[in-house]
């Protein structure tokens, strides 16, 4: 009697087991990787066209965040400052620093400085800076202690789960309005009471349903 199955069929179970094993490994590796902060790129610190130091400007010199990021209290977008803002000072200070060459070039030629984006939410998520700043959520809550960063890096994952953690329980992040731009802020001992007062003052009920952020 002729054989029903050709000889290569002998190898099939082994191959199935092998590819199944590889698949399982891929799935585990995938979850491991995509679920980790590695994927959300916490610590992402690209090289910027200008070696601008937030530590120097915001930290040592104590310039308020809002001097440059003018949109932060009035608009969804905080705004990376126009070259003009840099030149407000740097026409007088460090006028020939080589580090500032790209800024001067931008100003003279009218070509923008092309910064690399660090903080990013997906296009279908609509984050509004003013909505947060105006009710006492500090810059630091999402951006980390910028004043201590020589070069800015991504400090928080900015993932949906991370957003929701705070939207569900914002208490730890609510500050008096005059302290929203303070860096290295530590909550006072009576933070719970203060947060309750701020919540009452601004009628804070952070949305936790889709339409809060997605349009």
């Amino acid at each position: 009697m002729a054989q029903i199955f050709p000889e290569w069929v002998n190898k099939v179970p082994g191959r199935i087991a092998l590819s199944g094993g590889i698949l399982v490994i891929f799935v585990i590796a995938g979850i491991w990787y995509y679920g980790s902060p590695e994927y959300t790129d916490v610590g992402y610190q690209p090289v910027q066209p200008v070696p601008y130091s937030h530590k120097l400007h915001a930290g040592d010199l104590g310039i308020d965040c809002r001097y440059c990021h003018t949109g932060v209290e009035v608009s969804a977008v905080a705004m990376v400052p126009p070259t003009q803002t840099c030149m407000n000072c740097h026409t007088l200070i460090k006028t020939d620093s080589p580090k500032l060459a790209p800024v001067r070039e931008s100003w003279e030629k009218g070509t923008p400085v092309r910064w690399v984006r660090i903080h990013k939410v997906p296009d279908y998520a609509y984050f509004d800076h003013s909505a947060h700043l105006r009710v006492g959520v500090g810059c630091e809550s999402c951006h980390g202690n910028i004043a201590a960063m020589e070069e800015v890096e991504l400090a928080k994952p900015l993932s949906m789960g991370w957003c929701l953690d705070c939207h569900r329980n914002p208490d730890a992040h609510l500050r008096p309005l005059d302290e929203v731009t303070a860096m290295g802020w530590t909550p006072p001992a009576n933070q719970a009471e203060r947060a309750a007062a701020i919540k009452a003052q601004f009628n804070i009920k952070p949305p936790v349903t889709c339409s809060g952020c997605h349009r």
């Binding site: 891929f26 995938g30 990787y33 790129d41 690209p46 003018t70 949109g71 209290e73 009035v74 608009s75 969804a76 977008v77 705004m79 990376v80 400052p81 126009p82 070259t83 003009q84 931008s106 100003w107 009218g110 070509t111 923008p112 400085v113 092309r114 910064w115 690399v116 984006r117 990013k120 997906p122 296009d123 279908y124 609509y126 509004d128 003013s130 909505a131 105006r134 009710v135 601004f202 009920k205 949305p207 936790v208 349903t209 889709c210 339409s211 809060g212 997605h214 349009r215």
Partner: protein
Amino acid sequence: MNNKTQDADASAMKTGKDYWLSLRDKADTPEYRALVEREFPEGTVELASSMNRRTFLTLMGASMALAGLTSCRRPEEEIVPYVSKPEEITLGNALQYATSMPLGTENYSLLVQAREGRPVKIMGNALDAHTGTASNVWANASILGLYDPDRSQMALANGAESSVQAFVGAWTPLFAKYAANSGAGLALLVQPFASPTLQRQLEAFRTAFPAAIVATWDAVSDANQFAGHGSAFGRPLRAVYDFTEADIVLALDADPFGTEYAAFENARGFAERRRVEKPDDSMNRLYVVEPSLTQTAALADHRLRLAAGRIPSFTASLLHAMAARGLAVPASLLAAAPADKSIDTAWIDAVAEDLLAHRGRGLVIAGRGQDAFMHALVAVINSLLGNNGSTVRYTAQPFANESDPASLSALTAAMNASKVETLIVLGGNPVFDAPADLDFRGALTNVGTTVHVGLHRDETALACGWHVPLRHYLEAWGDISSLHGQLGVIQPLIEPLYADGISDAEMLALLAGGTLQKGFDLVKATWQQLTPGLTDRAWRGILHDGLLPREIVFEAPAPSIDAVAAVLKPALFTAPALSADNMEVTFRLSPAVHDGRFANNGWLQEFPDPVTKLTWDNAALMSRSTANALGLNDGDLVRLNCAGRETPMPVWVMPGQAEFCVTVTLGYGRKNGGRVGTGAGFNAYRLRTSKALFHATQLTVGPAFSTVPMACVQDHHGLDLEKMAREGVQERLPQLYREATLEEYQKDPEFAKERVEMPVLRSMWKDHEYKEGHQWGMSIDLNACIGCGACTIACQSENNIPVVGKKMVLNGREMHWIRIDRYFSGEDDNPGVRIMPVGCQQCEMAPCEQVCPVAATSHDEEGLNVMTYNRCIGTRYCSNNCPYKVRRFNFYNYTKDMPETVQMAQNPEVTVRFRGVMEKCTYCTQRITIGKIAAKRDGRALKDGDITPACEQTCPTGAIVFGDINDPESRVAKEKQRDRDYALLGELNLRPRTTFLARLRNPNPKLEAK
């Protein structure tokens, strides 16, 4: 059967109501059943390419494996800030500027929203007391016209690319020549306008070249009215109607709420008199006599089907009927206008009595398609009835240069006689839309130098030696003057998209003065003349407001009866009998593409005609019996032959069409209409002659020689038309669209709630728990809705809704979030039209949410049924389970090949959806969020009216009201308290947040009894 249901049945029977969607629905053919029974019609799940499912999966598997290896890191993205930021721009915040849109002599005051320097949304200017925030389909869609990638970007000289500068160089010697010979041999063809600056330039042109020919032409205009009023009043005045004062309105072949002049102001006044809030409120009554169903007829209480050529006979008969009832009509008039006994005398008598009973509170309107003598006669009738000065007044629009078809005929004659050496066509497309008998294209060959200035390289541009690109109104300076005398500024919202171009004011100034001047300087100079002592501050104020409110006093002169009697002749009142060998053709303006000027606008091509519901096409509309007599059916391509002139046209059987009357829509069939407009529909201008611009007889219709698929959207997304429900459709449609006569309403104000037997409503689901805060809701007044469709386009603009194309529409895949349902009721031949805008009803117990496997559609804290695109995996279960059929699915990535300029029209506040994602009305959730954040930012509480969705904002009659139903003082909460309020399919216990106010009709008891 329960008592209430019996009542509902009885009332449906008593009024003889018989509701149906379309003739196809009524005939209930197997094809039709197949169409409506499938949620997503035939072919919608197959891929467009020849790739089958198996090869697709193979390829997908491979590409996924590859994709897994790459793209581990997110792509690097740049932030590119300004070098020097304009002071007024705050990134992320929209700016609004006031401007105006010219459209012939009709103008719209607008507020345009700009994002980072690019206009994205058109709204009405609330400072304009006559229109408020309302605007119409054309104004809403003009934003897409700005970004039209096919707009002319560079001048052409004999087909070769050139520039405006080169044209200036070419014009300079010509200017010198014509300045010397006072313009002999020079001709200028302009479009009508109402603009102080353009008028000033045109006067300057006339002064510089007194011997030059100046003609004004627009394919559709009110020239007949001006001529008629010219004989009645000695001056070409325009009639201005005050519908708020009119109890009885008689529209004679007129469409005052549709495509005619000042339609949305008219509609606003009319709806004011239909806002019946309590049983003892009064309501107006509308009679319509016309050959073809118009949008106005959709609101009519009584409609008489009559060929356009017989409308004069009707009017004469009405005059005789009124004379017989005691109206003092001069005998000369009666003799000149003999009655026609063959027209429904009961109807005429009833109208005559009604008009006589409401002297001074009635209004008779003749449509722009009626001949001049009819306008004269109607002016006399209004005057005899004492309506003059109360419901109708007259005026000459300030700074208006009106269309004059005779001037085009004279110009063409001069061209043919080789009396024109240089012709400048400023705007317009006469090669396409001039009357066929003038043969404008042929006449052009007799002219040495021809110059076309226009937005597109259209038919006329290609037939002329020179073509100079015209600036869009959103990128040029100009001004307008309204009918009311209000002046408005057209200010540019954006730097011109294309470097080469010239505005109409600049062009006229160049022609008249020989030098190129800046549009701004021209406008400013005009305004300094208009408002002496105009300070800089005042000028800035005007620019901020966009307008300078001024009111001219409308006149109510007495028409000269002798003069009118002199133009009337009994022969004018005899129309030949119509038959298959001698049919009548009527031409009408397209509610979508206008006279063809908007043919390259995808939103407008896909905009369903409010009455026929056809998209992407025009058709020869004819009644069922006419089509039967000719052996024709929907989509049959036939040759229309009108006195020897021929054009192909598909047939569309349309209820309400007068027998042996064919109506065709102008503006389609463009040859050089751009990527969207070319090839859509058929050219009806080929039949149109200068003697008969609006209606003609001697039409014959040839046999069908081919068929054209017609993209009619009424049968798509049909509400509740699945098999089971259809069996009771006669019972159900009156439940969906609830209406009553005023009398029935007075007897039973709660009628709307009683049309359906409400079962004991107990939910299977746990109620949503809302603690506090806003709860959004909407109310739509079916009595005020005129079915214009402005909401559909405003929504499309606001919410980045894609255009899908005719093929997709044929597959039932149009994406409009607001579907305007049109039902017919009553007889096949002369049905009533019922119109109902349906978007997502935002159900409290939303059936879509219950079936979504991934919770992509869910409820939010404020009661909205929200759709989260990034979660959607495209199962379409939600759409299957939606009883309102308001969900739309992206079968393809419709935005993939969107030209870059068109992308600029997208609203950055709304996600652009990808293939495989479901979408639907969100109540403009982006506006809600932005409104709430803005209130929070300013530390104030939201008040009623702070947040308006795009549909409410644009609605000309205020039929749509949106707001917080938790606030008992809000307008929407009050609307919902009214007795006419009902929920669509309320018996399903879905508790929709959109509710409707039932429609009321006010029929004449004498005609109703018949």
